[in-house]
Each structure stands twice: as C-alpha cells, then as structure tokens.
Amino acid sequence: MIGPGKYFVEGDVAAAYGAIMAGCRFFAGYPITPASEITQAMAELLPKYGGKFLQMEDEIASISAIIGASWAGIKSMTATSGPGFSLMQENIGYAAMTETPIVIIDVQRAGPAIGQATRPAQGDVMQSRFGSHGDYENIVLSPNSVQEMFDLAVKSFNLAERFRVPVILLSDAEVGHMMERLNVPEKVEILERKRAVTFEETTKWGEDLIPPMGRFGDGLELIVTGSTHKPDGTRDTGEPDVQDQLVRRLINKIEKNRNLIEDWEEIDSEDADYLIVSYGASSRPSKGAFMKLRERGLKIGYFRPRVLWPAPEKRLYELSERVKKVFLTEMSLRGYRMEIEKIFPKSVIHIPKVNGKVHSVKEVLSSIEVSI
C-alpha cells in the first residue's frame, strides 16, 4: 500500500502511485519500453486496492478495455509509448466522441516508427492533440520530474472525470526512468465525474457543456456510439445539425473551460525581454540556463507549460507584447514549435535536440548566447 511519506522511485512508478491515489482501479496495458514499469507497478498495486489489472494482447485492446471499464464506472488508465501510442489513436477519437473519461500515459521515446526504444524524445506533442481523425479536443499534460509524474497523474484523472475526455499524460523516457524523491501526501484532491441517475440526465448539460455520465449496470438503457449521435445517444449520421452541434460542443467544452485547465510555471517574466519556453525533461536544463543568464543580469524569463493542450495561449499572447525573443528548447524538430511560432511569429529561436539525449545546460546556454 502507498502510505504518505518520502519515496525514492522512478517517474513511471510515481505515475502509478498517483493513479492509485486518484482512485484508478482498472489498468489494461501491453508491454513497451519505456512505459513497462507503469504496467508492472499497476499489476502489483491494483490487487491490493481491490482493483483489476489486465494485460491485453496489444495496444488497441488496451485502450478499448479502459473505455469499456470507464463505462462500467471505474476510473481507468493505460500506459504506452511511440508505436503503441500510434495504435491507440483511433480509440482516442472514439473516447472523445463518446465522452469517455480515460487516462493514457505516453512515455515518449524517439521515433518515427520503432526508433530508439530506450531514449527520450518529445516528438508526440502534435500527435497527442491531433493524432485521431476528425475534430475533437482533449487535454495533454507534461510532467518534468518524478514528483510531477505523481501530481499530474492525479490531475489527469481529475480533468478526465470532470470534462469527460481522454487525458494524455505526455511524459518521456528521461522523466519516466529517472529516480528522484517523491513526496506522497496524506490525501490528494479528487474530482469525481457527474453521475447520472436517470437516463434523462444523460441527455442534458449546463453551462459547462458536460452531460452527466450514466453507468452500465445501473439499469439505464444507455446508447454509446462512436457514430454521430443525438444527445440521447441515438445514431443520426444524416442530419447535418446533429453532427454540427455535437462536434462544436466537443470542442467548446474544452475551449470554454480553458481557464480551468491551463497550467504553467512562470518565473521572472515581468521585465523579460527574452523568454525560454520548454516542457518535460528538456525544461530541466532550460531552467538551469535561465538561472545562469539571470545571474548575469540578462532580462530573461522562464515559461513551462504543465498543460500543453489546451496551450496557455492567453498568457503567452500577453507576454508576446513585450518579449523580443523566445527560445524554445525541446527534444524534437517539430514538437511544440508550430504553437509557439503561432504566438510569437517572428521571434522564436528553436533549440531542438534529437539524438536521444537531453540537452545539457551548457548546450542551451551556448545556443542562446549566439542568438542575443
């Protein structure tokens, strides 16, 4: 059992602890480096908490099983990496369309294809938001420490349950495999999904645009379909308004609640002429470089989104009024670049690293020094 106190564990294990503390009682997964430690930890922990662990025959089955379990009323999660995450894309869209709360941990490794199984990368940032076909919104979080693997795993469940969306905890092999101190608190804040008692309730929503969710086994004749459907779940793929209203609501329930979801760390940006933007493992050396540059008197700020999608657009647009140059540090040639260049169209200096290693502070420093 996970008691409160200090632990020295890997990020993957910390994420499993966080999931358990958040109330996750079902895990379905398939072995893949560098996410297997989450699967193994859940296999060990869940029976002790009266939960259920299933090892599935592949990643399609893994995400399908957690969708089923979520409708049966249990908080559910899977964990994977690169190729497995690609296999899950169809059902990420399905979960968005059917408004099924699930949590997927993607411990990113270098790609494309099989790539470097044991090395970190951040090339799934766009896939984590746009990987499934069609229009939808989901939520993506980015931890940069063992502690945050725990904290953001808890938060992922809360967001998934609250907004009825698939939430992706987008880690990487560096954060997943690193060992650090973890503080497990006595209690964590837990949000539960709005539960529908009658069928009628499942067909209506308030200002937040999120209908209460029914549960299989409660006697409700629920209709759950990935086809275009009316608010009561009945399939209607012919009527243009049904698709229009459904898809707009799926997008708007995230759009309109952005202020409840967006989350970032920001240091010394008030007077900043320059800004370092980074996330996940690459934010660690970026912060080191930022501190060194500040010591030298450079007016530079540090900005790290903890939630990548929806992006903290409003705050970044505010900063763009003043900041002259933005240094985006990440382990990808594409990563978050499109988003940051959208907000700072002409002032982004991209500092990617794609050799399976995290930047050193020195590397970030020298890349910044040549551009100021």
Partner: protein
C-alpha cells in the same frame, strides 16, 4: 543443395548466454539457404542480432513492428509473384510468442487464410522477455512474470493456460504445422526441411528457453528444453492440412518424466513447490493430453 556448413546467421550477436533463439534461427537458415528473405517482428531476436554497426543476417532482412510481420511478408510474396520472380525464394518470418500469439495473431491469421507461400517460425520463450519479462498469452499456467507476480494475492503466478497457437494455426487448414524443440535437432531439421518443400502457409512453433526470464543456469538451456519434451509438457508433433485426426507425434518418450523435473531448475516455477497440488494439477493436464493423443499414433 545442402548449406549445413554455411552460416547465414553470423555468430557474435548479443543474445544472452544460453539463449535458445539463435540456435533455432541458425538451423532454419542453414536449411533454407541463401535464396531467402527474412521478415522479423519486433522482439529480442531483432534487437540482439542487429546492434549498430553489426548485423548477424547474411540475407535480406526487414524488421517491422510486432503486429505487422505476416502482413509485410504477404506483400513481399504478392509483389514477387506479380513480377514473375516467386520461384525459388523462401520467405521466412521470425516472431516471438508475444508478437505471434498476441498482437500478431490478426495478421498471421490473414496471411494463413489468403494462402501465402510463407514459413512462419515462432520462437516461444513464453513471455515478453525484451521488455522485461511480462506475461504473454503463451506464458504457461503457473509461471511467474513481472505482470503475473507471485505474492499473497496470487500464489500461482499466471492463472491462465497457454494459448494453443500451433493448434489455432492448424485449424486454418494450412498445409503444414509443427512443433519443434532445438534440443531434438534431427526432428527439428526434418520438420524445417519438410515445411520449406511445401507451397503455401507453414507454421512452426519452436520452444525457446530464455535464461533471463525462465531464471535458470545458462549452461542448462538444452537440458531444460529437452525436459520440456521428455516430461510431455511440450510434445513434438505435426499436422498437415488441418487434419487433427492424423496428428503425428514425432517423438514419444518411452517413460514420461514427472513435470517437477522440468519445473525444478527454473526460478519462474519456484513458488509452485509451496503448492504441490498445483503441480499435481499440471501433471494431470499433461497426462490427459497424452491419453488423448498418444494412442492415435
């Protein structure tokens, strides 16, 4: 042509000491010869045979993700046919048990149903060894793995039975299905030779000890694999055209050894000795299988 003196799978690869997979691969290729294209599903074999800047493969080789090997091989088969170049070339797939019985089953079944001229060799080390010993559907009942942990909540290890993949393939009514054990080399060679002479889909299920996952002394690999067959746990047989009634046992032990002898040297079964009734259960299942099939031969 006989290529027994040639090596198409070069030594010096990075398999663990005592790994049985290279023995299987080496002998399949010695019999297949140089006119062979290899399709390799993700797994230990792919990893240890191709560490940069080396490769053990002295043949054209394509590595694809777990679930795709049979489909990629189907494409190669069809494209060679379309160009009139199909004669005289072997297409051989190597996949582990996870890549075959679990995630690869769909494409394997499709390949068999469409009737491609391909030999599929599954080296069965009975778990996902490459990613850290997670259970697969081919892990036997009672085995410890990192996802079938043994402890107060589970005294058995894996609670489910091994998926009968060779029988499943035989049920596709493909021309040839056989089980092989590298500890019985002449039998294994005979079956590979036979399979390669037959046109159409062929499936060979090879037991393949993993010292790391089975937790045994690396010097005992062949002895332990021999015990798998001598205890009757891994029988050697062949089925042609899906005719189960004519299943041919190619090795019948004069006196089957008790299953304990196979379990004892392996750490993954250690906990079973605290529950002797479980071992009895397994012995009973083995005896029942033999009672059913032995007399048919």
């Amino acid at each position: 042509m006989n290529y027994e003196n040639q090596e198409f799978f070069a030594p010096g690869h990075r398999a663990c000491a005592g790994c049985a997979a290279p023995i299987i691969v080496k002998w399949v290729l010695k019999i297949a010869g140089p006119n062979t294209i290899i399709v390799n599903a993700t797994g230990c074999l792919e990893v240890f045979s191709t560490p940069y800047p080396h490769s053990s493969w002295r043949l054209p080789w394509i590595h694809v993700a777990f679930e795709n090997a049979s489909a990629v091989a189907s494409g190669i088969d069809a494209a060679l046919k379309a160009q009139g170049k199909r004669e005289g070339t072997n297409i051989i797939i190597f996949g582990g048990d996870g890549g075959t019985s679990d995630i690869g089953l769909q494409s394997l079944s499709g390949m068999a149903e469409r009737g491609h001229d391909i030999l599929y060799v599954m080296y069965d080390n009975e778990a996902y060894m490459n990613t850290g010993i997670q259970r697969s559907s081919s892990t036997p009942f009672g085995a410890w793995t990192t996802t079938s942990q043994v402890g107060p909540y589970n005294i058995i290890g894996k609670n489910e039975f091994k998926k009968p993949i060779a029988e499943i393939m035989a049920a596709h009514k493909i021309p040839y299905v056989a089980t092989v054990n590298p500890a019985f080399l002449p039998d294994m060679k005979m079956k590979i030779e036979k399979a390669l002479k037959i046109k159409g889909p062929k499936f060979i299920h090879a037991i393949s000890s993993c010292t790391t996952g089975w937790r045994h002394d690396p010097s005992k690999t062949v002895e332990i694999m021999r015990l798998a067959t001598e205890t009757g746990i891994f029988p050697l047989w062949e089925i042609e055209n899906g005719d189960f009634l004519k299943m041919k046992l190619t090795y019948v032990p004069k006196q089957r050894k008790p299953v304990e002898e196979y379990f004892k040297p392996q750490g993954r079964f250690r906990h079973l000795f605290q529950n002797p009734e479980k071992i009895k259960e397994i012995q009973k299942m083995v005896d029942e299988w033999w009672a059913k099939f032995e007399n048919k031969n």
